[in-house]
């Protein structure tokens, strides 16, 4: 069974772009270890020949690809923390 350590939490937090305090890392490691120990019960299930279920939709979800008016640019940008010249502005990514 997988054991959740502070190192596991560190690794996963990095994957999830979360900065955590040392207290958060220790608490989450302990709590997630408990939750996963509980979730271990599903390892005992016989799932041979069982298809995974990703959603409960049984109906056709495809539609025709037809252009239609969408959210105007100024509305889409209105809530942005930083926007300029009709674009979202982010910290420098290249050459920073």
């Amino acid at each position: 069974m997988a054991r959740v350590t502070v190192d596991t939490v560190d690794h996963v937090a990095q994957l999830a772009n979360l900065s955590l305090t040392p207290e958060e890392r220790a608490t989450f490691a302990r709590q997630l270890d408990e939750v996963l120990a509980y979730a271990e019960s599903i390892q005992a299930l016989d799932t041979r020949d069982v298809e995974p279920m990703s959603h409960a939709v049984t109906a056709e979800v495809m539609r025709d690809d037809v252009p239609a008016p969408e959210l105007p640019r100024e509305k889409a940008l209105a809530a942005a923390p930083d926007a300029d010249s009709g674009l979202f502005r982010v910290p420098r990514v290249i050459g920073g």
Binding site: N17, A39, P52, V61, D82
Partner: protein
């Protein structure tokens, strides 16, 4: 609660349509009630008084001009702050969205407003709908109108408390693992989680997209049926919304005799509060006296529902919540000159509360290399087994009955330090979300002076049977007429 705030939504719509009372008077009475009672409950995050009065006046003007009254004419509604309304804030109970104003309105809200409903404001909730007590709100906890030292349940705790306290006759909630039904049970009101796909999720802030569903909270099954009639229906803006006919739910409420009610006794054998269990047994007896045939059903895999749910839901949440990156909306932290990675990390550290971080970590873990097959894929297979349990059970019965929550409302702070204990309280509600079937919670008495909830589950898209059985139960019992001493 008295006068106009004691009326059902059905009665309000009837009186407004017949010009016996104006929509504006009804709205004013509820805004007054919020001003008087919400200080001790904290059900609302934002009261939209001006907007509500303007909407009510428009309805009155339309009726004066001779227009036909819409089905929910002048019915005040409280909306969980997980649903977008264009000119109001959406916070989702999170610092991440503090100050955010969405650029469009959720389909569910737009349908209610088009049907004459008047939005009173946005209600409190667990942050991003993650929680069972509304204590995970970044802004404030909500109190249970029946006992102010206790939680209202969650995550739609604000909506359930508002309806129980007479601040709104009906409300909207969202239900990913029980977030409509459990707070409805703990606050002594009615809550309906429709079939997955019945109600559009467009404008509903996503938590776990394969499980999330919008639905009504009300004080009677009849009012919930009227709301559902308006809310359900295909929406081209939600690819998972179903192209299925929507019955006139309120018109087909009569009857219910001869229906087979399945009870999964083995599933209920352990861990249920004694008072809840005796209220549940009495409810089963009442259903039988009303003409229902009782059947013993087995759901062999539902004991794995909590484990399955907390893997599937957190995996989907970790992906959905990746959008909060300080770029397009919401909080941006890190300060000027911070690198992109640092901006992401600090934004998410400051914007999210502990439960949301916990679930993002768990969800990212179960999807990560080396653990995907053992956890996420295995949980998806367990989900298939749980769905099959219900398919088999519904070959033998028309509805399945369980308690909604194994325990009545707990004390504020009682479970916050132990996430697993909090998760286990969802045992009876999560199976419906995993299987995609509809569920209804209705008051069935009291346990130690606190409301107990009866849950009914039905086949996919068979809300009509669910509502019919619920209405028949309320016709022969009076638990739904009890009101908190406020």
């Amino acid at each position: 609660m008295n006068g106009l705030t004691a009326l059902s939504a059905t009665e309000i719509a009837r009186r407004v349509a017949s010009r016996d009372v104006s929509a504006e008077e009804v709205t004013r009475a509820h805004l007054d009630r919020i001003a008087e009672a919400d200080g001790g409950i904290d059900a609302f995050l934002h009261v939209a008084a001006e907007r509500a009065r303007a909407q009510a006046r428009r309805i009155d003007a339309d009726l004066s001009a001779g227009r036909t009254a819409p089905p929910l004419a002048g019915v005040p509604v409280a909306v969980k702050d997980v649903l977008d309304i264009e000119d109001l804030p959406t916070t989702c109970g999170s610092r991440m969205l503090d100050g955010y104003r969405p650029p469009f309105t959720a389909t569910a809200v737009a349908r209610l407003e088009a049907a004459g409903a008047v939005v009173l404001g946005k209600t409190n909730m667990d942050e991003f709908a993650m929680g069972s007590s509304t204590e995970n709100s970044a802004f404030k906890p909500t109190r249970n109108p029946w006992a102010p030292d206790r939680v209202p349940g969650g995550s739609s705790g604000g909506s359930a408390a508002a309806v129980a306290a007479g601040m709104a006759p009906v409300a909207l909630g969202s239900d990913t693992g029980g977030s409509i039904r459990q707070p409805a049970a703990l606050c002594g009101v009615v809550g309906l989680k429709p079939t997955y796909g019945r109600v559009s999720r467009c404008g509903l802030v996503a938590f776990a997209s394969s499980l999330d569903q919008v639905g009504p909270i009300a004080r009677s099954v009849e009012d919930a049926a009227r709301m559902a009639e308006v809310l359900c229906g295909w929406d081209p803006r939600d690819a998972t919304s179903a192209r299925m006919d929507v019955p006139a739910f309120a018109a087909v409420l009569g009857g219910g005799a001869g229906l087979r009610v399945g009870v999964p006794w083995r599933f209920l054998a352990a861990g249920v509060d004694e008072g809840i269990m005796s209220a549940f047994r009495a409810a089963i007896d009442a259903l039988r006296s009303g003409g229902a045939e009782l059947v013993d059903v087995d759901l062999p895999h539902v004991s794995h529902a909590i484990a399955t749910y907390y893997i599937v839901a957190t995996a989907e949440a970790s992906s959905n919540l990746a959008r909060y990156d300080g770029v397009r909306y919401g909080l941006r932290a890190g300060g000027p000159g911070a690198s992109l990675r640092r901006m992401y990390g600090e934004t998410r550290d400051r914007g999210f509360g502990p439960e949301v971080k916990r679930r993002i970590i768990l969800g990212t873990f179960v999807l990560s290399a080396g653990y995907y097959d053992a956890y996420y894929l295995r949980a998806q297979k367990a989900r298939t087994l749980i769905r099959r349990d219900f398919e088999r059970a519904f070959a033998e019965c028309d509805v399945i009955a369980t308690p909604t929550s194994p325990v009545p409302a707990f004390r504020l702070g009682e479970k916050t330090a132990d996430p697993l204990q909090m998760y286990l309280a969802d045992i009876f509600t999560v199976p419906a979300n995993l299987a995609g079937i509809p569920g209804l919670s209705l008051p069935c008495g009291f346990a130690g002076g606190l409301p107990a909830g009866l849950q009914l589950l039905a086949r996919p898209f068979d809300e009509a049977t669910l509502l019919r059985v619920g209405h028949a139960y309320q016709a022969v019992t009076d638990h739904h007429l009890a009101r908190p001493p406020l």
